[in-house]
């Protein structure tokens, strides 16, 4: 069972999703603190100016900077900051190639609708791979 992490960064432009994701995180005690960024650009700015979160839940389709563009920018962030961060991509993508591409970026992948179990499962999987 995955442990409770200190901080999660949700990156999604849909407030309806952000509220239900926050609810699931609290209900399943996945993180103590939740931060929301409304697109990839806001998330990158957060990462540059704040202590790193333990977990990033990343949407794919967003204005200004989408999930893939975020992952490209994320490569430029120093390795020490990224060392302990787990990224899970959460999408409603119809494209089967997206899951494969997520693997190449070494991030987890879950299709919406999100459940507590699917989220915990993806975190555990990434924790195991990172060890």
């Amino acid at each position: 069972m995955c442990k409770t992490v200190e901080t999660v960064l949700i990156v999604d432009d849909d407030n309806d999703n952000n509220m239900i994701t926050s609810y699931l995180i609290n209900k399943h005690k996945i993180a103590n603190k939740i931060i929301v960024a409304l697109d990839g650009l806001e998330a990158i700015q957060f990462l540059k100016n704040n202590p790193p979160p333990d977990l990033i839940l990343l949407d794919l389709n967003m204005p200004r900077m989408n999930g893939w563009e975020f992952l490209e920018e994320y490569k430029k962030i120093d390795a020490k900051t990224k060392d302990s961060i787990i990224i899970i991509m959460i999408t409603t993508s119809l494209n089967p190639d997206d899951k494969e591409l997520a693997g190449k970026y070494k991030v987890g992948f879950i299709n919406k609708p999100l459940t507590g179990e699917s989220l915990k499962g993806a975190i555990e999987e990434r924790e195991t791979i990172k060890k």
Binding site: D14, D16, N17, Y23, N61, T92, L94, P113
Partner: protein, 106 residues
């Protein structure tokens, strides 16, 4: 998922459904009035977003109806944008989304 916090979230979400349906209707009307790639992309983007949030709040029939509509729109986006005879079919997909929401209520 029937604890008070979730019910509060669900109640808040329910109040946004007419607005979401209105937005889809307006985007379909915009596409009918001006059949452009931009209008098609705007409609697809909103329907895509609705696939995600409907599912998250347990409206699985509406989510599936949105998913089918998005699939239809993606197919049109992948083709040359010179035949608009399919645009009226959007109305049937829209009605399916309404039906999906109504079925969940009953």
């Amino acid at each position: 998922m029937t604890n008070p916090e979730f019910l509060e979230l669900l109640d808040r979400y329910k109040k946004t459904i007419p607005e979401k349906l209105g937005t889809i209707q307006n985007l379909i009307n915009a596409l009918k009035q001006t059949p452009s790639e931009e209008n098609l992309k705007n409609l697809r983007a909103f329907v895509h977003k609705t696939v995600g949030n409907t599912g998250g709040y347990g409206y699985l029939e509406a989510s599936e109806a949105c998913r089918q509509f998005e699939h239809f729109l993606l197919d049109k986006l992948a083709k040359p944008f010179d035949d608009f005879s399919w645009i009226d079919q959007c109305d049937a997909y829209y009605q399916n989304i309404i039906k999906g929401f109504n079925e969940q209520r009953s």
